[in-house]
């Protein structure tokens, strides 16, 4: 009976970690629309099913945006796993987002 290699176990642990994200936007505004599309593409590619994304429209929930310390929209917050991170803008700089999320960029 051969011993199981340890590497796959680590990968499995990585895959089961759920990344919790919150994106603050203004629904219908061009940069916000772009940010949602960019973020979904990045999550699909790097996180598969392992993420939970909440999109908050600051015009519909302004008090929440104020309470949660949002300065501008679109603005992405990674809440877990720690450390927390923030990225502002339309998330078109894929590498910046990937770094902020603590993911490794895929070799192209």
């Amino acid at each position: 009976m051969s011993r199981r290699p340890r590497k796959p176990k680590v990968r499995e642990a990585e895959a089961t970690t759920i990344v919790v994200l919150r994106l603050y936007i203004v629904g219908g505004a061009p940069n916000s629309v772009q940010a949602v599309a960019n973020l979904e593409a990045i999550c699909r590619e790097h996180l598969k099913e392992g993420y939970r994304l909440e999109v908050v429209d600051v015009l519909e929930q302004p008090r929440r945006a104020l309470a949660e310390g949002v300065l501008v929209t679109p603005s992405l917050a990674k809440l877990s796993p720690r450390p927390v991170a923030n990225v502002v803008g339309n998330l078109s700089d894929r590498n910046k987002v990937v770094r902020a999320l603590g993911l490794k960029a895929k070799a192209r």
């Binding site: 936007i25 219908g28 501008v72 502002v88 803008g89």
Partner: protein, 314 residues
């Protein structure tokens, strides 16, 4: 939503964005990520914590205004568009507009069963250019048509009479569009809108008369006369000249054998009353077909029942 409208109201963020923007932008950290993103044009709004306001940047404000204009134009278009279903068209305009939010446009395709006997009616349908047969079923798959609903009526009449379960099979026999409303919403609308209630009571009365006359017609009249009546009734309920049906389907509708339908249709074709090719039927001579049909056609479709509707309506 109230939050949203308060932010968009006069004197709010949308009216004087540039002034506010000039005040707020310096509050952000110099050369910080927020400032850099604003300069790169990647920001839609600034959350001003001092004034507890959301300040839209010009491009975002323009986009939202354009979207709002498009939505109101679409609503206005829908409000002014002709209403193709007669029950809805007969309602006072304000009552129709009140119903509009609950109406969902759908396409019903040939052969779809909307509900079977004994099934709960989930939606009512107001046909626009589709045609729905109501079939009474006997053991097995045999069924006979007892009602035909097109743009003049509504499918799901039992709901208007306080019954949630259908006693017939509702089968789409002409592909086309309809407006549908879910049962819960319909029940509320039916209670709140007396003109809709009156229109549907009249329609239920006409459907009952139609079913009674169909039973008598099927018992006493020849297949040829019944087929002529059925073709005329179908053509009355759809806006196009040509419709699709198979002989098997027709035999089911009339409760006769397929060979009998074939003979009757062949006779009409020879007399140039209809054209019938590969399941497509077109009426060529309407007067001739009316002459060939039994008097049940005028009883169901003629001035009698219609006069009753309008008399009670006014």
């Amino acid at each position: 939503m109230s939050d949203r409208s308060s932010l968009l109201c006069p004197g709010g963020a949308v009216k004087r964005p540039n002034v506010k923007l000039q005040k707020v932008a310096p509050r952000l950290a110099k050369r910080g990520p927020e400032q850099l993103a604003i300069e790169a044009g990647e920001i839609d709004a600034i959350v001003d914590h001092a004034s507890h306001n959301i300040i839209l940047l010009p491009a975002a404000r323009r986009a939202l205004h354009e979207a709002a204009d498009r939505t109101s134009a679409a609503r206005e278009g829908a409000r002014l568009a002709p209403i193709a279903n007669r029950v809805l068209a007969d309602l006072p305009r304000n009552d129709y507009l009140g119903l509009m939010d609950g109406l969902e446009p759908v396409v019903l395709t040939y052969g779809t069963v909307l509900y079977e006997p004994g099934e709960t009616i989930a939606h009512v349908h107001f046909p626009i250019d589709c045609l729905v047969s109501l079939l009474a079923t006997v053991e097995g798959r045999r069924a006979m048509e007892v009602g035909l609903v097109g743009r003049e009526g509504m499918v799901g009449i039992p709901l208007a009479l306080g019954v949630e379960v259908s006693s017939v099979r509702a089968l789409v026999q002409g592909t086309g569009r309809a407006l549908r409303m879910n049962a819960a919403r319909f029940k509320t609308a039916f209670k709140q809108c007396p003109p809709l209630r009156d229109a549907l009571h009249r329609h239920a009365c006409v459907m009952l008369a139609q079913a009674r006359q169909t039973v008598a017609c099927n018992q006493f009249h020849l297949v040829e006369a019944r087929l002529a009546r059925w073709l005329l009734m179908t053509s009355d309920r759809i806006p196009c000249e040509e419709f699709f049906l198979t002989q098997e389907f027709l035999a089911d509708m009339l409760g006769v054998l397929r060979a009998a339908v074939n003979r009757a249709a062949g006779s009409f074709r020879q007399r140039d009353l209809i054209r019938y090719r590969r399941g497509r039927v077109r009426i060529l001579d309407r007067k001739g077909l009316e002459a060939a049909s039994c008097r049940c056609y005028t009883k169901i479709e003629g001035p009698g029942p219609r006069a009753t509707w309008t008399a009670t309506r006014s």
